[in-house]
């Protein structure tokens, strides 16, 4: 759609930025023009963009990226508790920690490729998840989850007695009621919260675009295409893979941090394998290896999740009230399997349809529409030329 020239890239980036910034207006007609949902688009979009740097470019399928999401969230809440409710230190520390964690897991997992790599990442993530519930309870606060508290009277951090927030104390920040995350005083809820996530998404997109067009990006594609050949070409593929793994882990850490920024709470379920699986679905559904696909996939999934999981039997009964009672009951009992808690069933069907009919994801679908349009135009141009001749 966009030529891979420097100009094409700037155009793509400009359009992307414009769409993200204008999202509150653009998505209002489909009922998505409110901050809670839009910031989910942005956060999971960022998660998927990062995941795509590993999976889309190198073909290495990680099933454990939720671990880095979790690390990001925990680190952010801890920074809120220890340093300040200002989001900047929290976000920086989260990204760095997630990167270090990814370095560790990646170093071990990348000793294998293919399915064995996937299983290793899955095993590490499940271990992290279980540890968060058990041994690491002093850090994670177990099942209750880690939360921000009011300032402690004494100088100890304790889940029961309140937080430290050294920096906020030093600067004499006064807290009223429940502490809110902020960016130098701007509260990170509502629209400012969305725009903070949007800024992160835009920066993340730009970095991913640079990586994709760089020598590094080309090496990653070569790994996906023929790792063997690359080895015999003098390239040590392991450090390239590790770099891609760490970078994508840092994106996940950033996404996790943003989840905690917009809602200062971190729980272990964020690390569960379902969350790892979700980012795989988002990336494939949108189009693995493309720049826009992951964001598109994340937004589509979060949008439909929002709609379908809000529907319950009462709503269905209302919708089908025009049917005779018996038929209505049957229809509602079938459809209710696919809504509310059952939304994942819908997601599964949606995913199957896309993978079967559009193996390149939604981006392939868009590409086809564009080329149809172009061909139509070319045909009509030709027809016109024919008439003129």
């Amino acid at each position: 759609m966009f030529a891979k020239t420097a100009r094409g890239d700037w155009l793509l980036f400009a359009i992307f930025t414009a769409v993200v910034l204008a999202a509150p207006i653009l998505f209002a007609p489909i009922g998505a023009g409110y901050p809670d949902l839009l910031q989910k688009f942005a956060i999971y979009g960022l998660f998927a963009i990062g995941f795509n740097i590993l999976f889309g470019l190198t073909g290495y399928l990680s099933f454990g990226h939720a671990a880095f999401l979790g690390v990001g969230s925990y680190a952010t809440v801890w920074m809120f508790k220890l340093l300040s409710m200002n989001v900047l230190p929290a976000v920086v520390v989260s990204v760095v920690l997630a990167g270090l964690f990814a370095l560790l897991i990646g170093y071990v997992s990348l000793r294998r490729s293919g399915i064995y790599f996937s299983i290793l990442t899955l095993a590490f993530a499940e271990m992290s998840y279980k540890l968060a519930y058990s041994v690491l309870t002093p850090i994670t606060n177990g099942e209750t989850g880690l939360q921000v508290r009011n300032l402690a009277k004494a100088g100890v951090v304790n889940f029961q007695h309140g937080d430290l927030r050294i920096l906020d104390r030093a600067f004499g920040v006064v807290e009223h009621g429940v502490p809110m995350s902020n960016l130098f005083g701007i509260k990170m809820s509502g629209w400012p919260g969305f725009y903070f996530c949007a800024a992160a998404l835009i920066i993340g997109f730009f970095i991913a675009m640079r990586i994709s067009r760089s020598s590094f990006g080309m090496m990653l594609r070569a790994i996906k295409s023929n790792q063997n050949r690359l080895n015999y070409t003098g390239v040590n593929t392991r450090p390239y893979l590790l770099a891609a793994f760490v970078i994508s882990g840092m994106y996940a850490g950033m996404a996790g941090a943003l989840l905690a920024v917009t809602d200062p709470l971190a729980g272990a379920e964020r690390m569960q394998w379902t969350a790892s699986g979700e980012v795989v679905l988002m990336t494939i559904m949108g189009g693995a290896g493309t720049l826009l696909g992951p964001v598109l996939g994340a937004s589509v999934i979060k949008y439909f999740e929002n709609i379908f999981s809000a529907i319950n039997e009462n709503v269905l009964h209302q919708v089908f009230s025009w049917l005779p009672q018996g038929v209505q009951d049957v229809v509602v009992s079938i459809l209710s399997l696919f809504v509310g808690e059952g939304w994942h069933l819908t997601l599964g069907l949606l995913f199957m349809l896309i993978v079967i009919f559009l193996p390149g994801g939604l981006m392939e679908g868009l590409g086809r529409i564009v080329s149809l349009f172009k061909r139509g135009k070319a045909a009509s141009d030709a027809a016109q030329n024919g008439q003129e001749a």
Binding site: T5, S215, K224, T233, V235
Partner: protein, 251 residues
């Protein structure tokens, strides 16, 4: 002076002696052909040279350095490039990308994190890549994705991928297998042309026309061991070779 010295290399697969007390010296600048019947161990020998297989015993000295025990990318960085029996290329990348990647590996070494600058902005790489595609006659297809190429073109591309690295030693495993007569002759011309660049070559080949057009020296491998070595004329007249290989192949 010998640029490559293979000293008493042995390799067994289970009970099968694939290589048995193999010794070989390849002179700098030579075009050294290795011929021999199917299953003689020719590809196995190359696999040992590039680090795909580890021989059971033996030494391989390239330009004064031990090769065995090094990883494939390290061996390539020493200056050994290989064209495989079945083309190994980056199937879903364009021809230009396919030759730019080895050029990059040559310039940047085995690892360099260059994640910000656009590849397209590396003009020197691009020029080099276009030149080599020109040399092998694939310039017009530079923006084509490789999976669309014919088998002969894939071979030629793989040769370009090796040549762009200016290796000191080029290993060619049946470079004309499955090619038409015309393509074979084009490949011979190409190999003669790159002969002028002073690259030492080891060529494995069944096609005697190719062997006798190019080789300055020939070694004959049969059942994992070298049975004869000499100038092309000497090999032609060698009865042992006739028996083990030429006779069978020509019948």
């Amino acid at each position: 002076m010998a640029i490559l010295e293979i000293d008493n290399v042995n390799k067994t697969f289970g009970g099968l002696r694939a290589l048995w007390e193999v010794n070989l010296k390849v002179e700098e600048g030579a075009v050294h052909a290795i011929i021999g019947p199917n299953g003689a161990g020719k590809s196995t020998l190359l696999n040992c040279l590039v680090g795909r297989l580890a021989p059971d015993t033996g030494r391989v000295i390239f330009a004064g350095r031990e090769v065995l025990g090094h990883k494939p990318h390290e061996i390539n960085q020493m200056g050994i490039a290989r064209v495989f029996q079945t083309p190994e290329i980056f199937e879903d990348l364009t021809l230009l990308d396919n030759v730019m990647i080895p050029a990059m590996a040559k310039r940047d070494g085995s690892f360099r994190l260059n994640a910000w600058r656009r590849v397209a902005a590396r003009a020197e790489l691009r020029e080099e890549a276009e030149q080599i595609l020109e040399d092998v006659g694939l310039a017009e297809q530079r923006h084509v994705v490789c999976s669309a190429l014919s088998r002969g073109d894939k071979r030629r591309l793989e040769m370009a991928m090796c040549l762009i690295q200016h290796p000191r030693l080029l290993l060619l495993d049946e470079p004309t297998a499955g090619m038409s007569r015309a393509d074979t002759n084009a490949t011979i011309d190409l190999l003669k042309k790159i002969g002028e660049r002073g690259i030492t070559k080891i060529i494995i080949e069944h096609d005697m026309h190719v062997v006798f057009s190019l080789a300055s020296r020939i070694s004959v491998l049969a059942r994992g061991t070298f049975i004869a070595e000499g100038k092309p004329d000497e090999i032609k007249g060698n009865p042992k070779v006739q028996e083990a290989y030429l006779g069978g192949a020509q019948a």
